[in-house]
Amino acid sequence: MINLKAIYVIVLREFKRFFRQRGRLMGTIARPLLWLLIIGSGLSNLVGEEGGLSYRQFMIPGIIGMTILFSSVFSTISVVWDREFGFLREMLVAPISRLTIVLGKLISGTLLSAFQGFILFLLVPLFGFSLDPVEVIQMVLLLILVSLSITSLGLLIASFLNSLEGFNVIMNFMVLPMFFLSGALYPVKALPLFFQYITWINPLSYGVDSFKHVMIGSSGDFGPDFPLAVDLLFLVVFSAVMVLSTSLSFERRQ
């Protein structure tokens, strides 16, 4: 049912493409740094410190979440891309199951996003955080889990779409609201109740929140909004549901 060699080669292909398209790695590093250096500096002067943290430091878990959001979405575009440029047919007529293709795309998208999030995480000492080995390990595991949840959501959407245009429209209507309603730029509890409801169904909220548990930890205004157990539970269940729906959607459609 699942062909490991095929999964391996699908993942390998995505990694080769990632490193061959130089702009992608640059974008990964440049976009979040712009947010932190420019927006972070400006707002830090307005907002002031809270429990020993500057606003810019508060933003860092959110900006890592943003990096994962963008890179996961970009990875899942590859499904639509492959469909539009015909390469998907090469995979669809191979003697492998649809689930194998979905898993290949899921694993490659997850690892690539987690990798990009990790590169950014390695830069946090520049902004006054210290890194200890336990934190690094916790973060790596969380980065993978959060990447998995967002990539699986992106794959589900991509499985319904035929054109890059359609994908762009949907993503523009989803990606930015997901980012703004995730607690990345302000604590969830600072939002009006209606918007808070939306953050509760947004996987990125729980992802960013879990990063806050590791990096900020304290329970002040800048601290996490949900218990860590809730974050983990939501992310695991959400990913499982998405992966299952994506496989079904692929099986049915092609």
Binding site: A6, V9, K16, R17, F85, R89, E90, V93, A94, P95
Partner: protein, 304 residues
């Protein structure tokens, strides 16, 4: 090797193929001809398990295309109309990707890739990115790729579409060479009729139905000798006179007349002798598959 019985595909109000039957022998070079939209691609998509038939049955290599898709997929190689290579990978990487999808061992894959790249003359370019390849090179690479996993049947769906005549000839050279080397069954769809002349047998499909089946020679035998194309200053009058004088049925085709006659080159002087209408041009052609198509449907294959 390929067996199709009463195959039908309905898309909403449109019936793309209407209960077709086909039987392709092992090792045969089979041509599937017809104008665009006749149902060629629909048939191929069913045969290669990408599409579910509405009714009827399709078997490849003894496996049912709908109920045993994996078995069928292992038995076939495909070259699609559109390019399906990854431009950001090298030629070699595209091929190794394919081998692993078909569960070949690394050693077998490497040996096979070397062997086939030599035949299609791309061994020297194996480490170049495919995006730098010309259309003809990409096609050759795709044909090579379709054969890597040693399929029983190779499907070529309009393999030379959009290529210049020189490159088309060149591609056919390679296909011929690979065919001799592998002894494989080939199922070709095309609307370039000259390419189908070399097939062992052809089926002509029009509007979802097979309207002729046989070797190119047999199909052409059914025609009344040569085809004469005639342009005159008054086609309507000329048509009437020829029909009256020689008792032949004359058709009209994009601004001219067309009819079939035995021994065309001896017939034309007889026709010109005392013909009351000015003749602008005349063209005699030995029967081709295109004429078969015209005589069956009254249309040219390329324009319909």
């Amino acid at each position: 090797m390929i067996k199709v019985e009463g195959l039908t595909k309905v898309y909403g109000p449109i019936t793309a193929i209407k209960g077709i039957d086909l039987d392709v022998e092992e090792g045969e070079f089979f041509g599937f001809l017809g104008p665009n939209g006749a149902g060629k691609t629909t048939t191929i998509n069913i045969l290669c398990t990408l599409l579910k038939p509405t009714s009827g049955r399709a078997m490849v290599n003894g496996f049912d295309c709908y109920t045993q898709p994996h078995r069928v997929r292992s038995s076939i190689g495909l070259v699609f109309q559109e390019y399906t290579l990854d431009n950001d990978l090298t030629a070699y990487e595209n091929l190794i990707f394919h081998c692993y999808l078909y569960n070949m061992s690394r050693r077998d894959a490497e040996r096979r890739i070397g062997e086939i790249l030599e035949v299609v003359d791309l061994w020297d370019r194996r480490d170049s990115l495919v995006k730098h390849f010309s259309g003809g090179m990409k096609r050759r690479l795709e044909i090579a790729r379709g054969l890597l996993h040693r399929p029983k049947v190779l499907f070529l769906d309009e393999p030379t579409l959009g290529l210049d005549p020189q490159t088309r000839l060149n591609i056919w050279d390679f296909i011929e060479r690979l065919r001799r080397m592998e002894g494989i069954t080939i199922f070709l769809t095309t609307h370039y009729l000259d390419e189908a002349e070399g097939c062992d047998r052809v089926a002509i499909i029009d509007r979802g139905e097979i309207i002729a089946l046989g070797s190119p020679e047999d199909l052409k035998k059914g025609l009344e000798g040569d085809t004469v194309y005639l342009r005159t200053s008054n086609d309507r009058e000329a048509k009437r006179i020829i029909e009256e004088r020689f008792g032949i049925e004359v058709g009209t085709i994009d601004g001219g007349l067309v009819f079939q006659v035995r021994g065309g080159e001896r017939f034309v002087p007889k026709l010109f002798n005392g013909f009351p209408i000015e003749i602008v041009s005349v063209n005699i052609k030995r029967p081709s598959l295109n004429d078969v198509f015209i005589s069956l449907t009254g249309r040219e294959i390329r324009e319909s």
